[in-house]
């Protein structure tokens, strides 16, 4: 960072004010952005992801009903009416893929959001207060990490499925929400719950390590000597500086969760029928590999493309933001 500041200073002219400007301007974020620009694949990936989101969340509303069965028109080839043909129950494949994307991407984003919120707070507190508190908190993380994730999800599904039906009924009765939407939401909740429960663990570790090293830096000393409360220092100054690895990790977690959702769908623990997610579509398609491979390949392509895009994007961000601290 220092060298960049000097370069800019030397090319832009030299009064003190502009030096200050230049130093602040050439922040972590600006450098990162410049570096990203060189990374063509990352830019392309970002564009691909944005297009996918637009398709799934925007264009989807104009497409056919993904649930409408038509048992006389199964496995149809692509036509004007069904752009990508139909599936085993005569449902329009194109719209099923788009609606499926809604669920999968939403699961990925929401679960990541939950994981990031918990993880950053937990890791920051643990790293900041250090010593015994840190030791206890990290041992808790270790314990949770050693529980086989799949097992917990299955158990949670079994335990929470009853809970979700009763809650859903209660919400519809007392808050008057739309029944179908509430049912869909509460059905996917245990999934989020389980993913969130485990997704934050590694992030907490990362943030903690960052905080531990940042804690010793001069600006923290400066802040505390200015009389800022510990919490304020933590939230206003330290955490923002951990955002680099956090953003990277978050971007890489989204595809991880999308993949988890697919795995859970394979085990029959995903979303309720007749809704679909990419995971369900791929799983159903895999059964028809010998006979109608397009049922697997078409959703599979969009699924993998999105995941590749998110992964490349995350890697690009890491390259840009976090070259030195290359953890996991």
């Amino acid at each position: 960072m220092n060298s960049n500041a000097q370069d800019t200073a030397s090319t832009e002219g030299q009064n003190d004010y502009s030096l200050l400007q230049a130093e602040r301007g050439s922040s972590l974020w600006r450098d990162a952005w410049l570096r990203m620009g060189k990374n063509k694949v990352a830019i392309v990936s970002l564009v691909v992801f944005i297009i996918t989101c637009l398709l799934c969340f925007g264009f989807a509303w104009f497409c056919k009903d993904p649930i409408q069965q038509n048992l006389t028109n199964k496995f149809a080839a692509p036509s004007g009416e069904h752009w990508l043909g139909t599936d085993a129950m005569g449902r329009d494949l194109f719209s099923r893929i788009l609606y499926g994307g809604q669920v999968s991407i939403l699961v990925g984003l929401v679960a990541t959001f939950v994981a990031v919120t918990i993880g950053v707070t937990y890791g920051a507190i643990s790293g900041f207060y250090g010593a015994r508190i840190d030791a206890i908190m990290m041992r808790i993380v270790d314990t949770l990490l050693s529980i086989p994730f799949l097992m917990v999800v299955i158990v949670l599904q079994a335990v929470l499925s009853e809970w979700s039906t009763t809650t859903s009924k209660w919400i519809v009765e007392n808050w008057g929400w739309n029944k179908e939407f509430t049912n869909r939401a509460t059905n996917v909740l245990p999934l989020f719950f389980a993913l969130g429960l485990f997704g934050w663990l590694t992030l907490a570790r990362i943030v903690r390590a960052q905080v531990l090293s940042l804690k010793e830096r001069e600006f923290v000393e400066a802040a505390t000597s200015l009389g800022l409360s510990k919490l304020r220092v933590l939230f206003r100054h330290i955490i923002p500086n951990t955002l680099g690895p956090t953003v990277v990790y978050a971007t890489l977690t989204v595809p991880g969760f999308i993949m988890y959702e697919a795995t859970l769908s394979y085990l029959g623990l995903g979303v309720e029928s007749p809704n679909s997610s990419w995971g369900i579509l791929i799983k159903e398609g895999a059964n028809y590999l010998e006979t109608n491979p397009q049922l697997l390949i078409l959703p599979g392509i969009l699924f993998s493309l999105t995941l590749f895009a998110l992964n490349f994007l995350g890697d690009g961000l890491r390259d840009a933001l976090d070259v030195r601290a290359s953890k996991d």
Partner: protein
Amino acid sequence: MLRFIASRLLQGLFVLFALYTITFFLAKAMPGEPFTTEKNLSEESKAYQRALYGLDKPLLHQYLIYPKNIITEGSLAVSTSKGRPVKDIISQSFKVSVVLGLSALGIAICIGVPIGVISAVRRNSWVDWGTMAVAMIGICVPAFTIGPLLQIFIAANLPGIKVAGWGNPQDILLPAITLGLSTAAYLARLTRGGMLEVLSQDFIRTAHAKGIPASKVITRHALRGGILPSVAFIGPAFAALISGSFIVETIFQVPGMGQHFVNAVISRDEFLLLGVALFFGFLIVIMNLAADILTGILDPRVRITGNSSK
């Protein structure tokens, strides 16, 4: 060093105990019983079966007697869904899982590390992106797609390689590839990151300036530091391979341990569940410890007793 190991083992014991408590109560919280069958059993039959497995005793009693049996008899109880001692089930399936896991790990290393190195050296070029794309197949295409594809295109066409089954050495190939691809992705990413960090350091520039050929710079000087993050990852990765192989096991009919994690929950077989969960926890503790020690050996900057290890 010894103190370090001892204290970590002690901590590991606490972790296992916490794991036991959580798993025990999770298992009890699940609706249904191990003796739920479609053709309804009479109340008497269910009562007899509960008594047989000690499930009619009060909760606290059950909670305490299980660890007691482990310590005094080395017994992990009998599985309700398979009718055999849990210890037998674990020991038999673990052998298979180890072979599968190690093979998958080997494949992952052979694919992931070289790709990581190459992409780091040729950063931001088509070589970088192309090889990384190959490495990422494992985390962008689900295993239950890769598996059947391999079955149909490779196994069905090569008579020597079976579609599924476990018994001959060549049966390991397809399942290990399917399983190892996801780990390969992480290894590639870690290696790439590690190499990038090392390559940007001054001593590398010095080596180049001294006229050492590029390949030697990479292998002799950069690699050792570059693979550090991967080494730390290998421990938990191995444990994860063993427990997460359920999908590969069902597709390729491999009698490993991964399926027990899932099937035990489905059949409400709490003894098998506890046995497998504790075994897995134990594995993780040992693997983490081993990985940390290995990191300490490889990287003199990391003093094991410090906090700076990841």
